[in-house]
Symmetry: C2
Subunit: 413 residues, 2 copies
């Protein structure tokens, strides 16, 4: 089994750093992967496969960091979109499709009475916070430590260019720690506008965590008792666990729910759904952007959501994710490595149990990548409808080789 | 000449308000036009024409609020894009096209050494401010009163859900008032990170204003003397006045320049360009979003920019804008109305000179709209490469009818 070279990627990156700060920025920066052992630029993609600029082919487990839920260039979607493209995309006004999509989503998402559309996850989650602030006339927001809610100042993990005043009302607690949360709320009596959680906790660089029943019920009661708005940031989980929203899957009742990523299989759109009582407050938020009401992503979303339903895609994602997880754990054992897979099967996070610095993960993922299997060493993975048992089988064959290299380098546990 | 009915628009709007706060939100809300005399939903568009959901056809002077610079569904662009679409759009990583577009833009835009890409104008302008804050280690930003720099908290004209702390470092002065600006800077000595202006001042509901030479030279000197970063928000003007950026057209030297709208003829992308000295600070901003690095809008931008250059599109926009302006002024005179057209010809703002409340504008635009000419009563208009002399001629014929109605209603001046 030959290993990949990334000469063209490196060459392009050298050109890039001259005209782009850092060459690539944000969560796609090479430093977030294993620099030198990953491609830096993609050429094309199909199903669950992609090809980098050096012509190397991969089985992909990142799905463009989430959006690709049916598969890249999914034929039934693209055929439908070809019809829409003839009409245009960005207009002065929305299209009928905005009303149709809003009607469909309020029917689909448990507890949603209305919806607005944006472009990025950040747009949708920030809008949700603004609605909560407008409704409650309070300023503070509580989030879980390590949770990602976007790149806007109040929540960004970045420091550069951000003022401390922009984060002064953002408080944090430990996910699943209901007592800690209660304490924080009581210390900020009548000042908390919203509690924001992701349905399951998926920080980078460490294990994912499922919410406990007590935790979710506790937040619901706390919000009700204290007049706090409960926001579910379902950008990453949304439509991979349950089409009614991940709050339906885990069984909780948020008042505002932010979606993005998987809702349109790669077309740029995000959304915030909410309950009737917050609708009037929502009309008072000036939420706008040049491309917020473009029609193609809305048509893509409606087609994607219907396809997810018809093809029972979430079932497939659970099945494939489970086969992959079981296979990796078993292979790990064979090579003397204890593997932890956390998070729900469609969005797994893999770690070596004794590998706090993630050095083993980095070696494992780098060696897999160089052999055509695209895992991420620091971030949760994503499954899609395009992943087949055959893809998983091939992936595990490569994982076997990568585990062997880890075993040689680090020994058995 | 029959007048249009909007029954389907109204019907859809009734459905919309049930599932979308306000039915439509942001700058597309019917209240921003003339409710009842404008369509609320668009069906399709081609060239400089669009059709609403009732089947009414319009000659369009809004260009999707700016992005459409070549024309809706411009065939050479869409043919090129059909090739790109086969490869995919949203990937795990950027494509080679990001490097190519960055190289092209740094060659095209006067004074630009690097560039980053986002989705909305707000993304790009906020990024610019963050770079300025990071570089200067200062907090305050000065903007012109009435200028629109996006919907993010520090600059939004909205009030709902916004904290006063989010705007506490945003100061404002009167566009073209250099003495007022100097006073503001001296009152905030060593605290101002950036001065942000749009190349020409284009507030809503009132006349546009061109920058004076002294004003621009004064800002440049002030920024240099005081260590302040000079930001040009070229989202609305960009690539309609000069392909080197509107600072090239007006003759000033900003250190950061934000682009969006016209850069990709309707494909969702924005950008911020900057000078070498700010590049390192720029790498420290965590700038990211699910769809920021999607390839299709980048390919669309490169194709659009090359076409703008090859076809000398800005010349065409100036020519068509001038013919339109002259025609409207002349027709106004014939109907006893003094018409003021302000702003550069490709981005004109029309007002009746004696009409402070804009009631005449509203009647004029409503009557034109009901006869198939889509002007905006409160916002600057946009010309595109698709506008022909024949389109302008037809538009003026309708304007004649609309002026007659204004004359009948309000009398001669």
């Amino acid at each position: 089994m030959g290993v990949y070279k990334f000469d063209k990627s490196f060459e392009l990156f050298e050109r890039a750093v001259k005209v782009i700060p850092g060459g690539v920025y944000g969560h796609r920066h090479p430093g977030f992967f294993v620099p030198g052992s990953y491609p830096y630029y993609v050429s094309r993609a199909e199903g669950c496969h992609f090809w980098d600029v050096d012509g190397n082919e991969y089985i992909d487990y990142m799905c463009a960091f989430g959006p690709i839920v049916l598969g890249y260039n999914y034929p039934p979607l693209e055929m439908e979109m070809d019809k829409w493209r003839k009409k245009g995309d960005a207009f002065n006004l929305p299209g009928e499709i905005m009303v149709e999509l809003a009607e469909y989503l309020t029917g689909l998402i448990t507890g949603a009475d209305w919806v607005v559309f944006g472009k990025n996850g950040s747009d949708a989650v920030t809008f949700a916070l603004q609605v909560a602030r407008e409704y409650t006339e309070r300023k503070k927001v509580i989030v879980a430590k390590g949770a990602y809610h976007g790149s806007h100042p109040w929540c960004t993990p970045g420091q550069g260019g951000i003022l401390k005043e922009e984060k002064m009302y953002t408080l944090s607690f430990k996910f699943n720690d209901l007592e800690g949360l209660k304490k924080l709320v009581s210390e900020n009596k009548k000042e908390v506008a919203a509690i924001v959680i992701t349905p399951h906790h998926h920080p980078v660089f460490c294990d994912s965590e499922l919410p406990s029943k007590e935790f979710l019920e506790g937040i619901e009661k706390l919000c009700k008792d204290e007049g706090i708005i409960f926001i579910s940031d379902d950008i990453r989980d949304g439509f991979r666990l349950d089409l009614g929203g991940s709050h339906e899957y885990f069984g909780f009742k948020p008042q505002l729910i932010a979606f993005g990523k998987a809702m349109a299989n790669g077309y740029p759109i995000s959304a915030c759904a909410g309950t009737e009582e917050l609708k009037e407050a929502a009309t008072r938020i000036y939420f706008t952007g040049t491309f917020h009401l473009s029609t193609l992503p809305m048509a893509a979303s409606l087609t994607t959501l219907k396809e997810l339903k018809e093809k029972k895609v979430t079932e497939h994602l659970f099945k494939m994710g489970s086969i992959l997880a079981k296979g990796l754990i078993k292979l790990g054992e064979e090579h003397g490595q204890e593997i932890k897979i956390t998070g729900p099967p469609p969005i797994p996070f893999m770690r070596f149990a004794d590998d706090k610095d993630l050095f083993k993960s980095q070696l494992f993922c780098a060696e897999a990548c160089k052999r055509g299997i695209y895992f991420h060493p620091h971030h949760n993975w994503f499954l899609s409808f395009a992943h087949t048992e055959e893809d998983i089988k091939k992936s595990l064959e490569v994982a076997d080789v990568a585990f062997k290299i880890v075993e040689e380098e680090f020994g058995k546990k």
